[in-house]
Symmetry: C2
Subunit: 166 residues, 2 copies
DNA sequence: CTTGACTCTGTAGTGGCTACAGGTTGTCAA
DNA sequence: TTGACAACCTGTAGCCACTACAGAGTCAAG
Protein backbone atom coordinates (compact mmCIF):
# COMPACT_ATOMS: atom_id res chain seq x y z
CA UNK A 1 0.00 0.00 0.00
CA UNK A 2 0.94 3.61 -0.55
CA UNK A 3 3.19 2.51 -3.40
CA UNK A 4 2.94 5.56 -5.58
CA UNK A 5 5.42 6.41 -8.30
CA UNK A 6 8.39 4.22 -7.56
CA UNK A 7 9.00 0.50 -7.53
CA UNK A 8 9.43 0.30 -11.30
CA UNK A 9 9.91 -3.47 -11.40
CA UNK A 10 7.71 -6.18 -9.87
CA UNK A 11 5.79 -3.71 -7.79
CA UNK A 12 2.20 -4.15 -6.72
CA UNK A 13 0.70 -1.96 -9.43
CA UNK A 14 2.04 -2.89 -12.80
CA UNK A 15 0.82 -1.83 -16.17
CA UNK A 16 0.77 -4.45 -18.85
CA UNK A 17 4.17 -3.57 -20.28
CA UNK A 18 5.81 -4.02 -16.94
CA UNK A 19 4.11 -7.35 -16.38
CA UNK A 20 5.30 -8.33 -19.81
CA UNK A 21 8.87 -7.42 -18.88
CA UNK A 22 8.75 -9.17 -15.53
CA UNK A 23 7.37 -12.41 -16.92
CA UNK A 24 8.96 -12.36 -20.35
CA UNK A 25 5.61 -12.49 -22.07
CA UNK A 26 4.57 -10.39 -25.06
CA UNK A 27 1.90 -7.86 -24.23
CA UNK A 28 -0.45 -9.25 -26.86
CA UNK A 29 -0.14 -12.69 -25.34
CA UNK A 30 -1.15 -11.41 -21.92
CA UNK A 31 -4.30 -9.88 -23.39
CA UNK A 32 -4.89 -13.13 -25.21
CA UNK A 33 -4.71 -15.12 -21.98
CA UNK A 34 -7.20 -12.75 -20.44
CA UNK A 35 -9.61 -13.24 -23.35
CA UNK A 36 -9.15 -16.99 -22.98
CA UNK A 37 -9.97 -16.81 -19.29
CA UNK A 38 -6.59 -18.09 -18.11
CA UNK A 39 -5.70 -14.83 -16.45
CA UNK A 40 -8.33 -12.88 -14.52
CA UNK A 41 -9.20 -9.44 -15.84
CA UNK A 42 -7.32 -6.97 -13.64
CA UNK A 43 -8.44 -3.63 -12.27
CA UNK A 44 -8.33 -0.64 -14.57
CA UNK A 45 -6.81 2.77 -14.07
CA UNK A 46 -8.76 5.96 -14.69
CA UNK A 47 -7.45 5.97 -18.22
CA UNK A 48 -8.62 2.38 -18.74
CA UNK A 49 -5.17 0.81 -18.47
CA UNK A 50 -4.88 -2.65 -16.97
CA UNK A 51 -3.36 -2.58 -13.49
CA UNK A 52 -1.86 -5.84 -12.29
CA UNK A 53 -0.90 -7.01 -8.83
CA UNK A 54 1.73 -9.58 -7.85
CA UNK A 55 -0.86 -12.32 -7.86
CA UNK A 56 -1.31 -11.80 -11.57
CA UNK A 57 2.43 -12.00 -12.15
CA UNK A 58 2.56 -15.22 -10.22
CA UNK A 59 -0.26 -16.76 -12.17
CA UNK A 60 1.17 -15.66 -15.46
CA UNK A 61 4.53 -17.14 -14.51
CA UNK A 62 2.78 -20.41 -13.80
CA UNK A 63 1.14 -20.35 -17.19
CA UNK A 64 4.35 -19.48 -19.00
CA UNK A 65 6.28 -22.10 -17.14
CA UNK A 66 3.73 -24.70 -18.20
CA UNK A 67 3.86 -23.44 -21.78
CA UNK A 68 7.64 -23.72 -21.77
CA UNK A 69 7.00 -27.35 -20.88
CA UNK A 70 4.87 -27.52 -24.01
CA UNK A 71 1.56 -28.07 -22.29
CA UNK A 72 -1.54 -26.98 -24.13
CA UNK A 73 -3.70 -24.19 -22.76
CA UNK A 74 -6.34 -26.83 -22.03
CA UNK A 75 -3.91 -28.75 -19.86
CA UNK A 76 -2.87 -25.55 -18.13
CA UNK A 77 -6.49 -24.63 -17.51
CA UNK A 78 -6.89 -27.96 -15.76
CA UNK A 79 -3.82 -27.42 -13.61
CA UNK A 80 -5.07 -23.96 -12.69
CA UNK A 81 -8.34 -25.49 -11.63
CA UNK A 82 -6.49 -27.79 -9.24
CA UNK A 83 -4.43 -24.88 -8.04
CA UNK A 84 -7.53 -22.81 -7.33
CA UNK A 85 -9.07 -25.51 -5.17
CA UNK A 86 -6.35 -26.06 -2.58
CA UNK A 87 -8.45 -28.52 -0.63
CA UNK A 88 -8.61 -30.74 -3.67
CA UNK A 89 -6.53 -33.80 -4.18
CA UNK A 90 -3.54 -33.52 -6.44
CA UNK A 91 -3.65 -37.05 -7.78
CA UNK A 92 -5.09 -35.72 -10.99
CA UNK A 93 -2.15 -33.39 -11.34
CA UNK A 94 0.08 -36.42 -11.36
CA UNK A 95 -2.14 -38.10 -13.91
CA UNK A 96 -2.10 -35.08 -16.19
CA UNK A 97 1.64 -34.73 -15.95
CA UNK A 98 2.20 -38.41 -16.60
CA UNK A 99 0.01 -38.18 -19.67
CA UNK A 100 1.98 -35.19 -20.89
CA UNK A 101 5.28 -36.99 -20.34
CA UNK A 102 3.78 -39.80 -22.37
CA UNK A 103 3.01 -37.43 -25.23
CA UNK A 104 6.55 -36.13 -25.25
CA UNK A 105 8.06 -39.60 -25.17
CA UNK A 106 5.79 -40.70 -27.99
CA UNK A 107 6.75 -37.70 -30.08
CA UNK A 108 10.43 -38.41 -29.53
CA UNK A 109 9.95 -41.98 -30.72
CA UNK A 110 8.14 -40.74 -33.81
CA UNK A 111 10.81 -38.21 -34.60
CA UNK A 112 13.56 -40.76 -34.21
CA UNK A 113 11.85 -43.02 -36.71
CA UNK A 114 11.44 -40.04 -38.99
CA UNK A 115 15.09 -39.13 -38.68
CA UNK A 116 16.03 -42.66 -39.67
CA UNK A 117 13.83 -42.52 -42.74
CA UNK A 118 15.21 -39.15 -43.77
CA UNK A 119 18.79 -40.30 -43.39
CA UNK A 120 18.17 -43.39 -45.42
CA UNK A 121 16.54 -41.23 -48.05
CA UNK A 122 19.56 -38.95 -48.02
CA UNK A 123 21.78 -41.96 -48.71
CA UNK A 124 20.15 -42.27 -52.11
CA UNK A 125 21.95 -39.29 -53.57
CA UNK A 126 25.38 -38.18 -52.53
CA UNK A 127 26.45 -35.86 -55.27
CA UNK A 128 24.72 -33.21 -57.30
CA UNK A 129 23.62 -34.68 -60.59
CA UNK A 130 20.71 -33.88 -62.86
CA UNK A 131 17.41 -34.01 -61.05
CA UNK A 132 15.94 -36.65 -63.35
CA UNK A 133 18.36 -39.23 -61.93
CA UNK A 134 18.32 -38.01 -58.36
CA UNK A 135 17.70 -41.00 -56.11
CA UNK A 136 15.94 -38.84 -53.56
CA UNK A 137 13.32 -37.42 -55.90
CA UNK A 138 12.72 -40.84 -57.41
CA UNK A 139 12.36 -42.48 -54.04
CA UNK A 140 9.85 -39.85 -52.92
CA UNK A 141 7.70 -40.60 -55.95
CA UNK A 142 7.25 -44.20 -54.85
CA UNK A 143 3.81 -44.95 -53.48
CA UNK A 144 4.90 -46.44 -50.19
CA UNK A 145 2.18 -47.61 -47.91
CA UNK A 146 3.77 -46.94 -44.54
CA UNK A 147 1.51 -45.44 -41.97
CA UNK A 148 3.77 -43.16 -40.02
CA UNK A 149 2.27 -40.23 -38.20
CA UNK A 150 -0.82 -41.81 -36.75
CA UNK A 151 -2.34 -39.31 -34.43
CA UNK A 152 -0.76 -38.81 -31.02
CA UNK A 153 -1.66 -35.09 -31.08
CA UNK A 154 1.98 -34.13 -31.24
CA UNK A 155 2.88 -31.49 -33.73
CA UNK A 156 5.02 -31.04 -36.76
CA UNK A 157 8.76 -30.73 -36.82
CA UNK A 158 8.39 -27.21 -38.07
CA UNK A 159 6.70 -25.24 -35.52
CA UNK A 160 3.82 -23.16 -34.51
CA UNK A 161 5.55 -22.18 -31.27
CA UNK A 162 7.79 -19.36 -32.38
CA UNK A 163 9.84 -18.23 -29.42
CA UNK A 164 9.33 -17.66 -25.75
CA UNK A 165 13.00 -16.96 -25.24
CA UNK A 166 13.16 -13.71 -23.25
CA UNK B 1 -9.30 -44.61 -73.94
CA UNK B 2 -12.69 -46.23 -74.19
CA UNK B 3 -12.48 -46.97 -70.51
CA UNK B 4 -16.15 -46.69 -69.68
CA UNK B 5 -17.62 -48.11 -66.55
CA UNK B 6 -14.99 -50.48 -65.26
CA UNK B 7 -11.46 -50.10 -63.90
CA UNK B 8 -12.62 -49.15 -60.44
CA UNK B 9 -9.13 -48.74 -58.93
CA UNK B 10 -6.08 -46.83 -60.17
CA UNK B 11 -7.42 -46.42 -63.68
CA UNK B 12 -6.59 -43.51 -65.93
CA UNK B 13 -9.77 -41.57 -65.22
CA UNK B 14 -10.36 -41.28 -61.54
CA UNK B 15 -12.82 -39.14 -59.72
CA UNK B 16 -11.63 -37.47 -56.56
CA UNK B 17 -12.93 -40.17 -54.24
CA UNK B 18 -10.99 -42.83 -56.07
CA UNK B 19 -7.81 -40.76 -56.02
CA UNK B 20 -8.40 -40.29 -52.33
CA UNK B 21 -8.67 -44.06 -51.89
CA UNK B 22 -5.62 -44.84 -54.00
CA UNK B 23 -3.36 -42.34 -52.24
CA UNK B 24 -4.84 -42.48 -48.78
CA UNK B 25 -5.64 -38.78 -48.78
CA UNK B 26 -8.87 -37.18 -47.58
CA UNK B 27 -10.90 -35.67 -50.40
CA UNK B 28 -10.91 -32.26 -48.76
CA UNK B 29 -7.13 -32.32 -48.56
CA UNK B 30 -6.82 -33.01 -52.28
CA UNK B 31 -8.96 -29.99 -53.05
CA UNK B 32 -6.88 -28.02 -50.60
CA UNK B 33 -3.65 -28.96 -52.39
CA UNK B 34 -5.21 -27.85 -55.64
CA UNK B 35 -6.14 -24.48 -54.15
CA UNK B 36 -2.59 -24.17 -52.85
CA UNK B 37 -1.16 -24.90 -56.27
CA UNK B 38 0.64 -28.09 -55.27
CA UNK B 39 -1.54 -30.27 -57.45
CA UNK B 40 -2.55 -29.08 -60.92
CA UNK B 41 -6.25 -28.56 -61.51
CA UNK B 42 -7.43 -31.65 -63.41
CA UNK B 43 -9.87 -31.92 -66.28
CA UNK B 44 -13.58 -31.80 -65.48
CA UNK B 45 -16.36 -34.14 -66.53
CA UNK B 46 -19.56 -32.87 -68.11
CA UNK B 47 -21.08 -32.68 -64.68
CA UNK B 48 -18.12 -30.64 -63.37
CA UNK B 49 -16.47 -33.51 -61.48
CA UNK B 50 -12.69 -33.53 -61.26
CA UNK B 51 -11.16 -36.24 -63.47
CA UNK B 52 -7.64 -37.32 -62.54
CA UNK B 53 -5.03 -39.24 -64.52
CA UNK B 54 -2.20 -41.37 -63.18
CA UNK B 55 0.18 -38.44 -63.28
CA UNK B 56 -1.93 -36.73 -60.65
CA UNK B 57 -1.86 -39.82 -58.46
CA UNK B 58 1.90 -39.95 -58.75
CA UNK B 59 2.32 -36.33 -57.84
CA UNK B 60 -0.07 -36.61 -54.93
CA UNK B 61 1.83 -39.64 -53.67
CA UNK B 62 5.00 -37.61 -53.79
CA UNK B 63 3.39 -34.86 -51.77
CA UNK B 64 1.96 -37.23 -49.21
CA UNK B 65 5.21 -39.07 -48.87
CA UNK B 66 6.95 -35.79 -48.17
CA UNK B 67 4.26 -34.82 -45.67
CA UNK B 68 4.68 -38.15 -43.90
CA UNK B 69 8.31 -37.08 -43.52
CA UNK B 70 7.00 -33.92 -41.86
CA UNK B 71 8.11 -31.51 -44.52
CA UNK B 72 6.20 -28.26 -44.80
CA UNK B 73 4.21 -27.51 -47.92
CA UNK B 74 6.79 -24.82 -48.70
CA UNK B 75 9.56 -27.40 -48.68
CA UNK B 76 7.48 -29.71 -50.80
CA UNK B 77 6.78 -26.93 -53.24
CA UNK B 78 10.53 -26.49 -53.62
CA UNK B 79 11.10 -30.18 -54.21
CA UNK B 80 8.35 -30.21 -56.81
CA UNK B 81 10.07 -27.35 -58.56
CA UNK B 82 13.26 -29.40 -58.82
CA UNK B 83 11.24 -32.37 -59.98
CA UNK B 84 9.57 -30.35 -62.69
CA UNK B 85 12.88 -29.21 -64.15
CA UNK B 86 14.61 -32.52 -64.84
CA UNK B 87 17.61 -30.85 -66.40
CA UNK B 88 18.26 -29.00 -63.18
CA UNK B 89 20.88 -29.95 -60.69
CA UNK B 90 19.75 -31.83 -57.60
CA UNK B 91 22.35 -30.41 -55.27
CA UNK B 92 19.69 -28.18 -53.78
CA UNK B 93 17.55 -31.20 -53.07
CA UNK B 94 20.36 -32.51 -50.93
CA UNK B 95 20.65 -29.16 -49.21
CA UNK B 96 16.96 -29.00 -48.48
CA UNK B 97 16.89 -32.52 -47.14
CA UNK B 98 19.93 -31.94 -44.97
CA UNK B 99 18.30 -28.85 -43.54
CA UNK B 100 15.15 -30.81 -42.80
CA UNK B 101 17.15 -33.57 -41.11
CA UNK B 102 18.70 -30.81 -39.06
CA UNK B 103 15.28 -29.56 -37.97
CA UNK B 104 14.25 -33.00 -36.88
CA UNK B 105 17.44 -33.60 -34.95
CA UNK B 106 17.10 -30.24 -33.24
CA UNK B 107 13.53 -30.97 -32.27
CA UNK B 108 14.54 -34.32 -30.82
CA UNK B 109 17.18 -32.63 -28.70
CA UNK B 110 14.64 -30.09 -27.47
CA UNK B 111 12.09 -32.74 -26.61
CA UNK B 112 14.65 -34.80 -24.74
CA UNK B 113 15.51 -31.79 -22.60
CA UNK B 114 11.80 -31.22 -22.07
CA UNK B 115 11.26 -34.83 -21.05
CA UNK B 116 14.02 -34.52 -18.50
CA UNK B 117 12.45 -31.38 -17.02
CA UNK B 118 9.03 -32.98 -16.87
CA UNK B 119 10.35 -36.10 -15.18
CA UNK B 120 12.20 -34.05 -12.61
CA UNK B 121 9.03 -32.09 -12.01
CA UNK B 122 7.12 -35.31 -11.61
CA UNK B 123 9.59 -36.38 -8.91
CA UNK B 124 8.30 -33.57 -6.73
CA UNK B 125 5.06 -35.31 -5.93
CA UNK B 126 4.63 -39.03 -5.71
CA UNK B 127 1.40 -39.47 -3.87
CA UNK B 128 -1.95 -37.79 -4.00
CA UNK B 129 -2.15 -35.23 -1.24
CA UNK B 130 -3.97 -31.94 -0.98
CA UNK B 131 -3.17 -29.66 -3.83
CA UNK B 132 -1.89 -26.86 -1.60
CA UNK B 133 1.12 -28.97 -0.69
CA UNK B 134 1.64 -30.56 -4.07
CA UNK B 135 5.29 -30.14 -5.03
CA UNK B 136 4.41 -30.02 -8.69
CA UNK B 137 2.01 -27.12 -8.46
CA UNK B 138 4.37 -25.24 -6.20
CA UNK B 139 7.32 -25.79 -8.48
CA UNK B 140 5.36 -24.58 -11.47
CA UNK B 141 4.59 -21.34 -9.68
CA UNK B 142 8.30 -20.53 -9.40
CA UNK B 143 9.44 -17.81 -11.74
CA UNK B 144 12.27 -19.68 -13.33
CA UNK B 145 14.22 -17.83 -15.97
CA UNK B 146 15.25 -20.69 -18.21
CA UNK B 147 14.94 -19.99 -21.87
CA UNK B 148 13.93 -23.28 -23.35
CA UNK B 149 12.06 -23.30 -26.60
CA UNK B 150 13.96 -20.70 -28.54
CA UNK B 151 12.70 -20.83 -32.07
CA UNK B 152 13.87 -23.62 -34.34
CA UNK B 153 10.51 -23.65 -36.16
CA UNK B 154 9.75 -27.04 -34.76
CA UNK B 155 6.30 -27.53 -33.38
CA UNK B 156 4.54 -28.32 -30.17
CA UNK B 157 4.35 -31.71 -28.58
CA UNK B 158 0.62 -31.68 -29.06
CA UNK B 159 -0.10 -31.57 -32.61
CA UNK B 160 -1.70 -29.91 -35.49
CA UNK B 161 -1.06 -32.97 -37.66
CA UNK B 162 -4.01 -35.19 -36.84
CA UNK B 163 -3.65 -38.41 -38.74
CA UNK B 164 -2.58 -39.47 -42.19
CA UNK B 165 -2.76 -43.13 -41.29
CA UNK B 166 -4.87 -44.79 -43.99
C1' DC C 1 2.04 22.15 -26.22
C1' DT C 2 4.18 18.78 -28.64
C1' DT C 3 6.42 14.60 -28.98
C1' DG C 4 6.70 9.93 -28.46
C1' DA C 5 6.18 5.82 -25.69
C1' DC C 6 2.79 3.25 -24.05
C1' DT C 7 -1.93 1.51 -23.93
C1' DC C 8 -6.66 0.41 -25.71
C1' DT C 9 -10.10 -2.48 -28.87
C1' DG C 10 -10.89 -5.13 -32.74
C1' DT C 11 -9.73 -7.80 -36.64
C1' DA C 12 -6.99 -10.69 -39.72
C1' DG C 13 -3.32 -13.81 -40.58
C1' DT C 14 -0.26 -18.09 -39.65
C1' DG C 15 -0.14 -23.88 -41.24
C1' DG C 16 -2.28 -27.62 -42.80
C1' DC C 17 -5.85 -29.10 -42.81
C1' DT C 18 -11.06 -30.40 -41.11
C1' DA C 19 -15.89 -29.79 -40.94
C1' DC C 20 -19.65 -28.09 -42.10
C1' DA C 21 -23.89 -25.92 -45.12
C1' DG C 22 -26.38 -26.07 -49.00
C1' DG C 23 -26.45 -27.34 -53.54
C1' DT C 24 -25.72 -30.59 -57.99
C1' DT C 25 -24.76 -35.02 -60.33
C1' DG C 26 -24.71 -39.83 -60.97
C1' DT C 27 -26.27 -44.58 -60.09
C1' DC C 28 -29.20 -48.12 -58.75
C1' DA C 29 -33.36 -50.57 -57.54
C1' DA C 30 -38.39 -50.79 -57.14
C1' DT D 1 -40.30 -43.23 -63.66
C1' DT D 2 -39.26 -42.18 -59.48
C1' DG D 3 -37.14 -41.83 -55.53
C1' DA D 4 -33.44 -42.69 -52.54
C1' DC D 5 -28.75 -42.18 -51.67
C1' DA D 6 -23.80 -41.68 -52.39
C1' DA D 7 -20.55 -38.94 -54.21
C1' DC D 8 -19.42 -34.69 -55.89
C1' DC D 9 -19.40 -29.31 -56.09
C1' DT D 10 -18.31 -24.34 -53.91
C1' DG D 11 -17.62 -21.55 -50.13
C1' DT D 12 -16.85 -20.53 -45.52
C1' DA D 13 -15.60 -21.15 -40.68
C1' DG D 14 -12.96 -23.46 -37.21
C1' DC D 15 -8.68 -25.51 -35.00
C1' DC D 16 -4.28 -23.82 -31.83
C1' DA D 17 -1.57 -20.34 -29.65
C1' DC D 18 -0.44 -16.82 -30.75
C1' DT D 19 1.28 -12.50 -33.86
C1' DA D 20 0.65 -8.34 -36.28
C1' DC D 21 -1.47 -4.88 -37.59
C1' DA D 22 -4.93 -0.38 -37.76
C1' DG D 23 -6.66 3.37 -35.63
C1' DA D 24 -7.62 5.56 -31.49
C1' DG D 25 -6.75 7.09 -26.67
C1' DT D 26 -3.56 8.14 -22.42
C1' DC D 27 0.26 9.96 -20.13
C1' DA D 28 4.86 11.80 -18.72
C1' DA D 29 8.84 14.48 -20.05
C1' DG D 30 10.94 18.38 -22.33
Amino acid sequence: MLATAFTPAEGENMKIGELAGVTGTPVETIRYYEREGLLAAPARSEGNFRIYADAHAERLSFIRHCRSLDMTLAEIRELLRFKDVPTGNCGEVNTLLDAHIGHVAARIRELRALEKQLKSLRERCHEAQDAAHCGILNELSQTSRNGTKKAGHLGSVHGNVRNVMA
